[in-house]
């Protein structure tokens, strides 16, 4: 029982990352009709926004400490971050400590800007082209973006920890009456889950309750009619692309304390998030979120020792297996609309 609760928790957490990425993908597909293979790269760039901010905050000047020596026997150079000088050592250290949450503020404008530039500069020219062309050009873009990041940040992962207040874990099991150490859960993962829930809620509320959102939703189901009404749907769609990029970026920012980011993390998530979108149903926002959590939980269950013992290697293929079964039994995914992307 406790093992199952534990894996559900893990699955929710993994699922929230999948759901956030898939949500952005679906927004782009639903509004613009574009299959964006560069979406994983946006997630990765979001993560590197956090890295960049942490590096900026750590920008230092060098003093030489004659009492110590470095590995070559020369006097040791000591680096002091400027923020420590400006805000005093304690406040400075706190700012550096909180660099990941701070990066949310930093990443939103950057990601929206990147999204808008991408849409206006590249995607716009591909609305009338076949889906295969869209996939291919965004795939090319993904390669270019990740190579640029690799050029500046290297291939190794870069540790970017969560604030001290959120490190460590708490005993969830004891809370609900199990023995100690049966169900432990890291604080930051709870933060991530809550954050994902807020972002998903915000996106849905935005689409549901604002006029902007209403127009966009109308445009998603019938673009021509909305255009006939004299509404400039294109401009709104550009903004939607920016928002989708920001959602992916935020998912990336908050992900860095969970796993140190590297340049290929986008590609690692890309295939998975496409599977999520297709399982949920192309163009269905609730489908994307639901499928994200579903696959996250299934993946967690498949990794349980008891399951692997019965079906060796199941943890390697579970996601794909689920995708195949669902696509064969429910051709349009769990919540998909008819006739989307089948030409």
């Amino acid at each position: 029982m406790d093992a199952i609760i534990l894996q559900i928790l893990n699955g929710l957490d993994k699922g929230s990352a999948y759901a956030l990425i898939a949500l952005g993908l679906t927004l782009i597909f639903g509004t613009l009709g574009v299959v964006n293979f560069a979406h994983g790269a946006l997630f990765m760039i979001g993560a590197f926004c956090a890295v960049t901010l942490s590096k900026l905050l750590n920008a230092s000047y060098t003093t030489i400490d004659e009492t110590k020596t470095d590995f070559l026997g020369n006097p040791l150079k000591v680096e002091t971050p400027y923020v420590m000088d400006w805000f005093g050592p304690e406040a400075g250290a706190a700012i550096i400590d909180w660099s990941v949450p701070l990066a949310i503020l930093f990443a939103i404008p950057i990601m929206i800007l990147i999204g808008v530039i991408m849409e206006r500069g590249l995607i716009k020219h591909f609305y009338a082209r076949p889906h295969a062309d869209q996939i291919l050009v965004t795939f090319g873009l993904a390669i270019v973006l990740q190579e640029i990041i690799k050029y500046y940040f290297g291939a190794n992962p870069i540790p970017t920890p969560a604030p001290d207040a959120f490190t460590g874990s708490f005993d969830f099991g004891q809370l609900i009456g199990f023995e100690a150490n049966q169900i432990i859960y890291p604080y930051w993962r709870l933060v991530y889950f809550a954050f994902a829930a807020v972002v998903i809620g915000a996106v849905f509320a935005f689409l549901q309750f604002t006029t902007f959102g209403m127009v966009v939703r109308a445009g998603m189901s019938d673009r021509e009619t909305v255009e006939l009404l004299g509404i400039n749907i294109n401009r709104r769609f550009t903004i939607m692309f920016g928002i989708a990029a920001a959602v992916a970026g935020l998912a990336g920012v908050m992900y860095v304390p969970i796993n140190p980011p590297n340049y290929h993390m986008g590609m690692d998530f890309l295939v998975l998030s496409f599977v999520v979108v297709v399982v949920g149903g192309m163009g269905s926002l609730p489908g994307a979120v639901f499928a994200g959590f579903l696959l996250g939980i299934l993946e967690s269950f498949a990794s349980m020792g008891a399951v692997i013992d019965v079906l060796p290697g199941i943890n390697q293929i579970i996601i794909y297996l689920v995708a195949i079964v669902i696509l064969l039994t429910r051709p349009r995914g769990l919540m998909g609309r008819k006739g989307v992307m089948e030409e």
Binding site: V35, L122, H125, R129, H131, A132, D133, I135, L136, V137, F139, G140, L141, A142, I143, V144, E147, I148, Y151, M267, V271, F274, V275, V278, M282, P312, G313, Q316, I317, Y320, L321, A323, I324, L327, L328, P331, M341, E342, E343
Partner: protein, 402 residues
């Protein structure tokens, strides 16, 4: 000739001549010159050109003709390789049974995957093929290690039975794949002045297979079957309402294209008897899509050109390091040299992925027909210029006559 039209015969002829002369064409620079870096006429790379050419030709039979975008074709290549290596291990080092088995195995595998995946179309088909290929890769890398060799790949060992070739031995060197005594790694070198050309048995064998595969692809393109496939790509609804059952047509195309991939995989193993799981990873499937698109999807020669370009970048451009760059620009003043090198460096050597991504994007944006379309545009431009010139010449003649 050979049941081909005039244009196709000409195309096949040109490809055949290029294949035969490739060791010269790709080695235009003397051995010790600075440009020797760009020579690509050595056996391994030439073999890769034709083998990936076969892979891409086959992929194009599916994607180019029917429009079904498979994102898992590398799985068939991998399965073909494994089959061939197992044949080397168990039966004989002769490449014929090995390649035959790889084509067959890949074909059977394609029937299975195609039968299921082709129940869906569009991106759903792409995801299904991707899912199958990723499953194959993941299992081959881990739990199937006893069959596939896992991380280190499936290799020959001295203790393999090799029933037809005689007893196993613990001493000596591993046998080499061959064709009735002709070893695939045999080669003849020709030195002309400063130039050195290598003619390898393996390359000419693969080249011959590629020509056959190319010839067969032309026949398929020009056949009623090929026409049906193009009709399916163009309008599947009309196909159904014209009394044609699209499913067996697409399945046949899928299986043929899977067998081409298996053939390529078998040849790879014949040239280099090792089969690794990572040649089935989804990026490897992505690579053949890149090749086909770069060269020109739906054209006969395009996929071969695309395969050549990507393999050239992977093997030649990636080897240019900063030392070599500094060597090239050494004649410049120091500051300028460093500046130029620092501008070029991110795009070559270890940055070759970046260049590939940029080229690929440019092709998709500006040349949807790939390099073939580029070539056609240039040819059209030249022709226009030439006809202008002819007119000029005509005028000049008239003037002279007067």
């Amino acid at each position: 000739m050979l049941g081909l039209g005039k244009k196709d015969t000409l195309l096949l002829g040109i490809v055949a001549v290029l294949t035969i002369l490739a060791p010269f064409i790709f080695n235009p620079f003397p051995v010790n010159s600075a440009m020797a870096q760009f020579n690509a006429g050595y056996p391994d790379l030439l073999q890769r050109f034709v083998i990936f050419g076969i892979f891409a030709i086959g992929y194009n039979l599916l994607f180019g003709l029917t429009g079904y975008l498979s994102f898992g074709h590398a799985a068939f290549l991998g399965v073909g390789s494994y089959a061939a290596v197992w044949m080397f291990k168990l039966l004989s080092m002769n490449v014929i049974p090995a390649i035959a088995l790889s084509v067959l195995t890949a074909g059977l595998f394609a029937v299975l995957i195609g039968y299921i995946s082709l129940r869906r179309s569009g991106i759903y088909f792409a995801i299904l093929t991707l899912a199958f290929a990723q499953m194959t890769y993941a299992l081959a890398y881990s739990v199937l290690t006893p069959i596939t060799g896992g991380e280190t790949g499936l290799q020959l060992a001295l203790s393999d039975p090799r029933i037809l070739d005689g007893a196993a031995s613990a001493e000596g060197n591993l046998p080499v794949p061959g064709l009735f005594g002709l070893e695939m790694r045999d080669s003849v070198q020709l030195a002309v002045g400063d130039w050195l050309f290598t003619f390898s048995a393996g390359y000419y064998f693969s080249g011959l297979v590629m020509l056959l595969a190319f010839y067969l692809a032309i026949r398929i393109f020009r056949s009623p079957f090929g026409m049906m496939l193009r009709a399916i790509k163009s309008n599947q609804q009309r196909v159904n309402y014209t009394g044609l059952n699209a499913r067996p047509y697409t399945l046949a195309a899928f299986v043929i294209s899977g067998m081409y991939a298996g053939l390529a995989g078998g040849l790879m193993a014949a040239m280099d008897p090792l089969a690794g799981a990572e040649r089935m990873y989804w990026t490897a499937s992505g690579e053949v899509v890149l090749m086909t698109i770069l060269g020109g999807v739906g054209t006969l020669i395009g996929p071969v050109l695309g395969a050549g370009l990507i393999k050239y970048m992977e093997n030649i451009v990636s080897k240019i390091n900063s030392d070599i760059l500094h060597g090239w620009f050494a004649f410049m003043p120091d500051g300028l040299e460093d500046f130029i090198v620092s501008i070029i460096y991110p795009f070559i050597g270890k940055g070759w992925h970046l260049t590939l991504g940029i080229i690929f994007m440019l092709v998709v944006i500006f040349l949807p027909g790939g390099l073939v379309e580029g070539g056609q545009r240039i040819a059209r431009l030249l022709r226009r210029r030439k006809s202008d010139k002819d007119e000029d010449a005509g005028q000049a003649k008239t003037e002279a006559a007067e």
